[in-house]
Symmetry: C4
Subunit: 251 residues, 4 copies
Amino acid sequence: MNEVDVERVESAELQDPVLIEGLPGVGHVGKLAAEHLLDELDGTLVRRVYSDQFPPQVEVGDDGVAELTCAEFHAVETEGRDLLVLSGDHQAQSNEGHYELTDTFLDIAEEFGVSEVYALGGVPTGELIEEYDVLGAASNEDVVERLTDAGVEFRDSEPAGGIVGVSGLLLGLGGRRGHEAACLMGETSGYLVDPKSAQAVLEILQDVLGFEVDFGSLEERADEMEEVIGKIQEMEQQQNVPSDDDLRYIG
Amino acid sequence: MNEVDVERVESAELQDPVLIEGLPGVGHVGKLAAEHLLDELDGTLVRRVYSDQFPPQVEVGDDGVAELTCAEFHAVETEGRDLLVLSGDHQAQSNEGHYELTDTFLDIAEEFGVSEVYALGGVPTGELIEEYDVLGAASNEDVVERLTDAGVEFRDSEPAGGIVGVSGLLLGLGGRRGHEAACLMGETSGYLVDPKSAQAVLEILQDVLGFEVDFGSLEERADEMEEVIGKIQEMEQQQNVPSDDDLRYIG
Amino acid sequence: MNEVDVERVESAELQDPVLIEGLPGVGHVGKLAAEHLLDELDGTLVRRVYSDQFPPQVEVGDDGVAELTCAEFHAVETEGRDLLVLSGDHQAQSNEGHYELTDTFLDIAEEFGVSEVYALGGVPTGELIEEYDVLGAASNEDVVERLTDAGVEFRDSEPAGGIVGVSGLLLGLGGRRGHEAACLMGETSGYLVDPKSAQAVLEILQDVLGFEVDFGSLEERADEMEEVIGKIQEMEQQQNVPSDDDLRYIG
Amino acid sequence: MNEVDVERVESAELQDPVLIEGLPGVGHVGKLAAEHLLDELDGTLVRRVYSDQFPPQVEVGDDGVAELTCAEFHAVETEGRDLLVLSGDHQAQSNEGHYELTDTFLDIAEEFGVSEVYALGGVPTGELIEEYDVLGAASNEDVVERLTDAGVEFRDSEPAGGIVGVSGLLLGLGGRRGHEAACLMGETSGYLVDPKSAQAVLEILQDVLGFEVDFGSLEERADEMEEVIGKIQEMEQQQNVPSDDDLRYIG
């Protein structure tokens, strides 16, 4: 295997598609959103990307058959813009790996004619969220303007620590390649897998790209999480104030 | 030295051999199993693999002579299938190293005509084991079916965290190369070096590959471990409940 | 993107310029000093250096537009020596990265005709500073002598742990290339971002290189820090002796 | 700079020299021993080895002049065997770096005609030492025999964790290249810089290689350490039993 190995699974003709990325991250917001798109829309697996920058590992499926860790691209036609959806179970495991994989992802996207990139993710607030705002960052001011009109919030120099990982680099490296690129980051506590935040991000995307998906299954998952949160809050009241650690990543 | 350096120690003619891998891991199950095969069957050391992905270290033998850390391949003829046994004292020390070494191991295996791969290991249960089941994962459904018939258990999406390291990659990369590959994972507490779990794995292998080994020495070692466990349990009763840390890796 | 990617933003003709480096480090002394130079003097952005040795990240500006992490060179003409100022938000993230980036930085500097290098930084004393001395280290004895005359202190084998990162390597690798190179390290507690220490370093530089800058804004920032220190000292008196951790990096 | 950069400082003609390595490690035994040889015998600096596998750092000398971190080879003629002495302030900072640097060190040694290698170091016992034994490991049985005659102890499979770092690899890679290679490891508590252990190692070397050095300065340094130990033991008696941490690496 080479350092990065792109398996061409199928070909697909897409009309001026946009790249949607949803790899694991804060609140698993991006991953939930990308996977929900693939669950609800009819897509074709077109590329698998293997890399020694992913963990050295296989995932076992329901049939006992194991698959080498990879990232996947699905081609999806919608009633609005065509989509190329990038999903997977892992981020790169090193700095160099993030750069190398993002470059590969952009190469594949360009092969399908992509010139517009949306990296989906979450931004941690440290508090349980009432109203799910979506924070944005973009490669140029035109994109900022267009997304502001769609309801995305842009705040001075936020997120303060920058945007890290493949999402940040799709914006940074994509912008340097001349693409219109944006990160859409759903606000999320940061403590829990957050389907509501994923829905907020997808509602923006729907508006911008002109497609529609049903949110029933995400809402169900959100209800399950609500129950978890409810139980934690009950515990809080019974057992005095718990530390943040009690809440860390349940989902 | 190159990044990976394969020393050709001897040549051997094997008939359609299978690769058996047993490097260090959970409960040292794979390592114990591979080393027991080499102790009981008459094998020939055919290859040594040195790599800067192994720890920078020598091991000192009983004669004061030190050997550079490496992995070894032995050719073993049995009354059943011929075996190519891969053993050693170390896993790779980085993600990339795991990929690179596994590719090298598969290259060597193919040189000997291998098209079937068994990666041996343990799967931690967190509890002392009564009945030693062997959990499996495989590169395709035919292998799953064949091993199920031999008594291997396949459970939906288990182990949950995937299979990590050379064992996982032999399955993942081996499967991508078109080999029939499987991981056989003996259940083990995860706290102790576990000869009984190694025996359970080898009993499956015997059945599948048609060879037979004596288990006397493994059983002796298991009895020694039983004594250790007995003492720990005695201590538990005398001193209240100990933490898991008291049990961590005695062997 | 290559491992290191130099973007040629503009050209500039400088007369026998000196390289001034101020990347993040102890008390952010070097970074504050370099940025103050760029704020006060009229400079031109001439080069951006991108690298997979920087964190995989973008920084978001006030307009919501995000920029890929990089280091920047500005050409600055003064009434004294011309300057080539190297600044940025990050150090390299690995040993090899430090060496590779420093070599790139020196290549760029040589392209502009640099043969003299000043790496700016802080040296931690562990105590709040009354008088801000500037400690030096240099590539040869002539430089030591010249800087001693300008008020820089050179102390036997200090700093004891050597000088680490790009600053150290600009001196070490720069010296090996035949440049006159020096580190100028303002004393600083090590607990706080320290504008006064940055000013002490710049006052030496002014003297050595014959330019002048206004220190109003640095002094303002120093006053803000004084208030922070004042509050901490008040807290100390009220709450007994605090640990060093209470002081760690406020700024 | 390349990944490894060998600077040819001077040439030297040595008669069938042996390589003596003393880089930092347990109790700084090897480093103390190599530096004592260079202090007492008249040597010529012949090579400097720079590498991006060393820390990115300069060391500042008594004159304020800083030198890039490197390893050094000195050619030393004695009344016995000629020596090529390898010393320095740092080990490599990664696994691959240890392999790469050791290969470079052996290349340089071979350039000077070396076919015999002594890697000096310490082996931690966890207790203050009364009698300073020297433990050995070697590349073949002839060397074991020869060194046993000189008073070196060889113990079954000791040190149990193998020998790590450049010392271990000089033995392992040196042996693979056909050199007669040995590690000489002075017993040492592991808590303190240990000049007595260094002397024990050098006394063996003197005997084996037929040279003689004065131990006055090492003995002085040992006396200083005795005082430190005495004070610690006093503190122990006054303040009950201290933890091992109180003793960790004073020197």
